[in-house]
């Protein structure tokens, strides 16, 4: 079937709009982070306890539980909890901290989220119209793959925001997203065209889709890990009594534990999907070539990524490795994804020659 040129052009316009929206979102998140109320450590630590059911009189978080005298009446307990500030993670925040000074940035945070959603819709439209214009899943070359990948990570970010406080990831996520999309449009762009026949297979569709979703979520995890490493550095410097520069940057970071846990969640979600992607690829190879595993460079790097993230999960469970060292392992995992995408696709030839650049 011929390429629908009108739809292909629409796709290009939509992606341009998407990039603009994401860039504005990035600025909004940056404003929010730099001048906003900051991420109160305790509040974000107990972010998951956001809504305290009315009929629970004295639910206390870890921080205050220890201070409760045994056998205290529940009225005491409520007082203690509120006094210790654990409850302010919940409703208190919205109402009581609205001094004028913070109004603009807090709005900019909200504004950034709205822009992200708009950009996300535009990008989704771009991917959809590209797919319709060529009558296939639009992830057949590096340009399309980059679009799908960034779309997956923004989706993951939005979903995460509905489940926990995750707006703090905005700056560190939107920056690479905008960068990647700029690269896609300026360098990797190829006009809409049908796919080479070797790529017609639904196992391939499953395999690539899974790889995109997993990589997209790995990106979100990486953003959290980068923030964790920065926050950790500040915390270490502060603990050692060293002067801490750029305190603004430190202030925009939530608690280290929150960052670490957010990153872990992302990796733990993405890892089984990545595992599945590798397996689906093997099944496809089995159909196509009669060999499920041939150590083709792309396969090899998918395997390396898998091994490194398995290493991360182990590091996190091993005394002496959790924290910083585990975070480095996760960064290494992300580096292997980048290597696979840029270096292997472009410079190392193998059977997966679909880079289209």
């Amino acid at each position: 079937m011929p390429v629908d040129v009108g739809l292909a052009r629409l796709s290009n316009d939509l992606i341009a709009g998407g990039i603009v929206a994401y860039s504005v979102a990035f600025l909004g998140f940056a404003l929010d982070a730099a001048f906003g109320e900051g991420f109160d450590k305790k509040a974000s630590a107990s972010a998951e306890q956001a809504v305290v059911p009315a009929q629970v009189p004295a639910l206390v978080g870890a921080s205050t539980a220890g201070s409760l005298p045994e056998g205290s009446t529940s009225a005491d307990a409520t007082g203690a909890a509120a006094g210790a500030g654990a409850a302010d993670g919940a409703g208190a925040r919205g109402a009581s901290t609205s001094s004028d000074k913070y109004k603009l940035p807090r709005r900019s945070g909200l504004f950034a989220v709205v822009c992200t959603v708009i950009g996300w819709l535009l990008e989704g439209g771009a991917i959809l119209s590209r797919g319709l214009s060529v009558h296939r899943l639009p992830w057949g070359n590096m340009y399309e793959f980059t679009l799908a990948l960034t779309f997956a990570s923004v989706t993951a970010f939005l979903v995460l925001m509905t489940r926990q406080r995750a707006r703090f990831l905005g700056v560190f996520l939107m920056a690479p997203v905008v960068l990647a999309l700029g690269l896609a449009v300026l360098v990797l762009y190829v006009p809409a065209a049908p796919l080479m026949p070797a790529l017609h297979s639904y196992w391939l569709a499953i395999h690539v889709t899974a790889a995109i979703v997993a990589s997209g979520v790995f990106i979100v995890g990486t953003a959290a890990t980068v923030m964790f490493l920065i926050a950790d550095r500040y915390a270490l410097a502060a603990a050692a009594g060293k002067p801490v520069r750029f305190t603004g940057l430190a202030r925009m970071m939530p608690d280290r534990d929150v960052l670490d846990r957010t990153a872990y969640r992302a990796y733990a979600f993405a890892f089984p999907i990545w595992t599945f992607a590798v397996i689906a690829g093997a099944i496809w190879a089995e159909y196509a070539w009669g060999h499920y595993w041939q150590w083709d460079p792309k396969e090899t790097w998918a395997f390396i990524t898998w091994v490194v993230y398995a290493g991360y999960l182990h590091a996190r469970a091993t005394a002496g490795w959790r924290g910083r060292k585990a975070a480095y392992v996760a960064m290494l995992g992300f580096a292997t994804i980048l290597f696979n995408f840029f270096v292997v696709n472009i410079f190392i030839s193998g059977m997966h020659s679909y880079a289209g650049v």
Binding site: Y287, A288, H291, Y292
Partner: protein
């Protein structure tokens, strides 16, 4: 064992948290094991034990995982002998004449088959087996144990709450017990137990300390004798949920071992080979009929599955018109095959994603092309009938090949040819080229050489290339089916009769494949279970306080390393508990 009571020393709480798994490295347990690990000691036995514990530690697994990743890197960057294009190795030799032999010596052109790569993954898998099999045993035992008793001070648990109720403690606990069971907690009631007995029993769902199990039984009697030390007996519900996390984790790791077993099965009992078959020709599963064949270590090549097939017809269809003009739509090899000699032949169509399977052996369609049919008459009037497979030229729809006639007289003849399925004149230079892969207007462009084919030089020669060093070109022309070229000086004639097609097949016998496939599915299942399920414990205690009212305390514990979110669940549980054990009015 609802009579197991007792209490956690609060300081041991963090240690307790990590005990929600069978992870081998919690700090306060395994004292002896730890010591064995750190110090090799003097005797051979203790050195061995130390080596074994070190090998099976998580830290070692971590390091081996890194080594495995690192070791794979050169395999993806340097050309590999077993890879998609082995010729690149010789290219590399030509380009880097000094470096290449060194790399070769280190096994870097065959990384994934090298001894050191095997050493890494074998060590990793021994470590895995040594770690996971005992863990599985412990876990099986832990699955049968009842939830541990409530700690003395529930409010010191990471999450806890309390409220007064108008119900009696007995009632409240009854309802809590029922609710938790309904929510699939493994829940026990422990009535009137002293909350200050020895913590040792409690410690664990971790049946891993073999002695601990016995401990429990031994201590049952000590409990009463100590009752006087506590604040008096209390009753509680002890609940626990999420053993499936550990089950999933073990399933995952054990499946990895099974994957390796499957791969080993194939490399030992499997084989793979390829064969090019022309239309009307047959293939029999014997080593002579293979163009290339690599058997596993224990494959008896005299006992290959006795099947055979004949390629009746090869059919390809192509996209006509549009931007994808000329792209292949389908390939089909129509064969008649017999599972064994003398069996009645059956018809089958082998397609790209549709192999022929028999006796655990699969025949895949891998490639196809044309085999032009020539009749060559030499100067002495002798005639040769040759149908020769021509090989597709990447990026074009042309096929190249050569015909060698070492027996031609008076001189040997050689023909280089290009088969053009749809011949057309190149608009730029007028040269014949093929503009479509289907045989719409077939033609063959040939160059005829006479002289010495060089077959006796002793050097191996490709059947697809002509060494023209000692030959001279005597004719060049384009022939259509039925055309005959008369060679100059009475050297004879060349007739292009027509063409057949050929298909190339990959033939593999992969006995480990079902094993690998099953295990790989199990790894995903195990992973999802292991990463999505949370292991947690919950205790509910109800007692009369000094004022005679019923105080309900609820506390919970989960693994610190889990991804969080337990607080939410705890809150929901508390809400549910309060709907069956409502707080006294003035509390609300």
């Amino acid at each position: 064992m609802s009579d197991t009571h007792v209490d956690i020393d609060e300081d041991a709480l963090s240690a307790e948290v990590s005990k929600l798994d069978t992870i081998p490295e919690s700090p306060d347990e395994y004292g002896t094991r730890q010591r064995a690990r750190r110090t090799p000691g003097g005797s051979a036995m203790s050195v061995l034990r130390w080596a074994w514990y070190s090998l099976t530690s998580m830290r070692t697994a971590l390091i081996l995982l890194f080594l495995l990743a690192l070791a794979s890197v050169p395999g993806s960057i340097l050309p590999q002998r077993g890879g998609s294009d082995p010729l690149r190795v010789s290219d590399y030799y030509a380009k880097h004449p000094t470096l290449a032999p060194i790399l070769d010596h280190l096994g870097l052109f065959n990384v994934f088959g090298s001894a050191w790569f095997a050493a890494i993954y074998l060590l990793l898998f021994i470590s895995l087996a040594g770690c996971v099999l005992p863990r599985s045993r412990r876990h099986l035992r832990a699955m049968r144990l009842r939830p541990p008793a409530a700690p003395r001070n529930i409010s010191r648990l990471p999450v806890s709450t309390s409220w007064h109720t108008d119900q009696s403690p007995d009632d409240a606990l009854g309802r809590a017990h029922e609710l938790l069971r309904r929510k699939h907690f493994r829940a026990d009631r422990a009535d009137n137990v002293d909350s200050r007995a020895d913590r040792a029993d409690n410690v664990d769902s971790r049946a891993d300390r073999a002695d601990n199990v016995d401990f429990r039984a031994d201590r049952a009697d000590t409990v009463d004798s100590r009752a006087d030390r506590g604040t008096g007996p209390t009753s509680s519900v002890n609940a626990e949920k999420g053993h499936l996390r550990e089950t999933g984790n073990l399933l995952f790791h054990v499946s990895l071992l099974v994957v390796l077993v499957g791969i080993a099965l194939t490399s030992v009992f499997g084989f793979t080979g390829s064969a090019l078959v022309k239309e009307h020709d047959g293939f029999t599963d014997t080593t002579i009929d293979y163009d290339s064949f690599s058997p596993g270590r224990f494959v008896n090549i005299d006992k290959l599955p006795p099947f055979s097939f004949t390629l009746n017809k090869f059919e390809a269809t192509y996209q006509r018109g549009g931007p994808a003009n000329g792209d292949a739509n389908s390939f089909a090899a129509n064969v008649s095959w017999q599972p064994s000699l003398g069996a009645p032949p059956r018809d089958y169509t082998i397609e790209v994603n549709h192999p022929l399977s028999t006796q655990g052996t699969n025949v895949y369609l891998a490639n196809h092309g044309y085999a032009p049919h020539f009749i060559v008459r030499d100067g002495s009037g002798h005639s040769f009938d040759e149908t020769v497979p021509f090989i597709p030229q990447p990026g074009t729809s042309q096929y190249d090949g050569v015909v060698k006639l070492p027996d031609a007289k008076p001189q040997q003849l050689g023909i280089t040819g290009i088969f053009l399925p749809t011949a057309s004149a190149n608009p730029v230079n007028g040269m014949p080229t093929s503009i479509f892969p289907a045989p719409d207007n077939p033609a063959v462009v040939i160059g005829v050489f006479s002289g010495d084919l060089g077959l006796n030089s002793g050097l191996p020669q490709s059947v697809y290339a002509l060494d023209t060093a000692k030959m001279s070109r005597i004719a060049t022309t384009t022939l259509r089916p039925g055309d005959t070229l008369t060679l100059p000086n009475g050297a004879g004639t060349v007739t292009f009769v027509g063409y057949d097609q050929w298909a190339a097949f990959n033939i593999t016998h992969d006995p480990g494949k079902p094993v690998v496939f099953g295990a790989v599915c199990a790894t995903v299942l195990g992973l999802v279970m292991s990463l999505a399920i949370r292991r947690r414990r919950l205790w509910v205690r109800a007692s009369r306080d000094d004022s005679g009212r019923t105080l309900v305390e609820v506390g919970g514990l989960t693994r610190t390393d889990a991804s969080g979110g337990f607080e939410d669940e705890f809150k929901r549980l508390v809400t549910a508990l309060q709907s069956v054990v409502p707080p006294t009015a003035q509390d609300g």
